[in-house]
């Protein structure tokens, strides 16, 4: 079963929920797909044992063969190639590696080189098979790193995925294929607004979902009204407590401090399993 944890708005508690859930159940494979800012291992504390570069292909132009006809730059949808009089420029960070330039080149002047844009790391902790990806600083494309991570996914495990914030391409890439999605929100106007966007995404992808309300007690009760009206199950409420915020700030998972939370996250898992097995 694949459970992903998403939110729309950043900082609502995705990592809190995904790591605590992972630490409450057995046979877990964990993926932190927030490759721009991965934080799950602060709580899981896996010893990293393996590292793998993530590379993308970029075109290399043979300037002996190139006659600057401009067909490649005309074709490129990403403006990664520019032909100026007597020269051709490649902008590797804009290239999506589609291969179009090579196809349209009439002089076979284009070959390919690999460029490293990030890494995937693997380790183990408390029985959790842990993976995360890191996009290199200054790089713009998270998708290839997320794809490399998802290739590591096993079938027989309880897969937990920490999804990046937002609603666009990295989110879709990370979340697609999930059996269930937990949307984490907070009871504030920003939380509600971005929850609605996240609901649109999971409905669009036809993934069953439920909500966890974090920092319960602040703001107003509009998130709960919304969930009730839309028939969205509220799986858990995590209250606003200084103690919880402090544990988070130190990188300590709730379930490692309190047996009660361990049980509560276990119940969330059981409820999801029932829903998915239906």
């Amino acid at each position: 079963m694949i459970i992903s944890i998403a939110s729309g708005k950043g900082g609502t508690g995705k990592t809190t929920v995904s790591t605590n859930l992972a630490l409450s159940i057995r046979n877990v494979q964990f993926f932190d797909c927030d490759v721009e800012e991965p934080n799950a291992n602060i709580f899981i504390k896996a010893k990293i044992k393996e590292r793998e570069d993530v590379s993308v292909s970029i075109p290399i132009i043979d300037k002996e063969k190139c006659d600057y006809c401009g067909k490649c730059s005309d074709f490129c949808a990403y403006n990664a190639l520019a032909v100026v009089p007597g020269n051709i420029l490649v902008f590797p960070e804009l290239c999506h590696s589609c291969g179009g330039c090579e196809l349209v080149c009439p002089r076979e002047a284009i070959s390919w080189d690999e460029r490293v844009i990030g890494i995937v790391e693997h380790g183990r902790a408390e029985g959790i098979d842990f993976y995360h990806g890191l996009l290199n600083v200054g790089e713009s494309q998270a998708i290839p790193v997320i794809k490399a991570l998802k290739r590591k996914m096993g079938k027989s495990k309880n897969v937990i995925i920490d999804i990046p914030p937002g609603t666009s391409c990295p989110v879709i890439e990370s979340i697609s294929g999930s059996d269930y999605c937990i949307l984490v929100t907070e009871p504030t106007p920003f939380g509600l607004h971005d929850l609605k966007l996240a609901v649109e995404v999971v409905r669009h992808l036809n993934i069953p979902f439920g909500v966890i309300i974090n920092r319960d007690g602040i703001g107003d009760n509009k998130v709960e009204f919304y969930c009730k009206n839309e028939n969205i199950p509220v799986l858990l409420k995590i209250p606003e407590r200084k103690k919880i915020a402090h544990l988070y700030s130190k990188g300590i998972a709730l379930v490692n401090e309190s047996h009660e939370w361990h049980e509560l996250f276990g119940l969330v898992y059981n409820r999801i399993k029932e829903e998915v097995d239906k």
């Binding site: 950043g10 291969g99 179009g100 609603t167």
Partner: protein, 286 residues
């Protein structure tokens, strides 16, 4: 004209609340919400939309099945696995490169515009605003960020404003880079948590990579004083000024519930700290 981008790396550290507070302090500025994935600034600034523009991101393939001869050339050529073996398009995977249309021998595939969202020009009680909405599950948020910034620039020129305040998205990737290239200063809002510190280090790396001066603001500094100290030391080491230390205060949420900025809503310690921080930023930008 100067440009300031408020970013954070980690989400939920308070970028938008701080941007909204700045909006009420800036006397002659344009506001741009570049978190086009999950835009929230409008919930406080309540803009009156004056102009709506359609936004088309990258194109998308459209397959005419009647013309298809089942040669599978498109399926084989697509590097994004966006065309399955039965020549169905997997919309979410298509990155609009056009390779399938190029290799199709019977012209059964066309590249068509996709409706990716809208860009808006608006007026708020504090000044003009440029913002946008990306449709559900769309690509090219970086491209839309660029549109929002271009619109903000035009607005600033037209209305003779001397500053653009940009609310940036979380992360360090494409939309973040589009939000900060070419600006005069970034303000990184962080929080004293291990996650906040980790993300601060990465986002400062991005600012450094693009050679943009950065200031740091430690929000909710009092939830962990040890970590606050660590951030100060780290910033000192990196030669980055910590221009603000804001206390944890539920006023932020209360103001949000009332659709107001913190400065409008209250005049306590938090408001004072924000005003002090704003004055340092203003000084740097003039």
């Amino acid at each position: 004209m100067k440009q300031l981008t408020v970013i954070s790396g980690k989400g939920g550290t308070g970028k938008t609340s701080i941007t909204a507070a700045f909006a009420s302090l800036a006397k002659n500025a344009v506001f741009a919400d570049c978190d086009v994935d999950a835009a929230d600034l409008h919930l406080i600034l309540r803009p009156k939309i004056k102009k709506t523009m359609e936004f088309h991101g990258l194109k998308i393939a459209s397959i005419e099945k009647k013309l298809c001869i089942d040669c599978k050339k498109c399926h084989d050529a697509c590097r994004f696995n966006a065309i399955d073996v039965e020549m169905n398009l997997i919309k979410g995977s298509c990155e609009g490169c056009g390779v399938c249309a190029y290799v199709c021998p019977v012209e059964a595939i066309k590249m068509v515009e996709r409706d990716s969202g809208f860009a808006y020009i608006s007026e708020t009680r504090f000044g003009p605003m440029s913002h946008a909405m990306l449709n559900t599950a769309e690509e090219a948020s970086g491209k839309l960020v660029t549109v929002v910034r271009e619109n903000a620039k035009k607005l600033a020129e037209e209305k003779k404003k001397d500053l653009i305040i940009i609310d940036g998205p979380p992360g360090i990737g494409c939309p973040v880079i589009a939000s900060l290239t070419g600006v005069d200063l970034v303000l990184v809002v962080t929080e004293p948590t291990l996650s906040g510190i980790h993300d601060l280090e990465r986002i400062l790396g991005v600012a450094h990579h693009f050679d943009i001066p950065a200031f740091v603001c430690i929000n909710k500094y009092d939830i962990n004083l040890d970590n606050t100290k660590r951030i100060r030391e780290y910033c000192k080491d990196k030669n980055v000024d910590v221009v603000g230390k804001l206390p944890y205060d539920t006023i932020v949420t209360d103001a949000m519930v009332h659709e107001q900025g913190v400065i409008e809503f209250s005049d306590g310690d938090l408001a004072d700290s924000i005003i002090k921080m704003w004055n340092k930023i203003k000084k740097r930008l003039t």
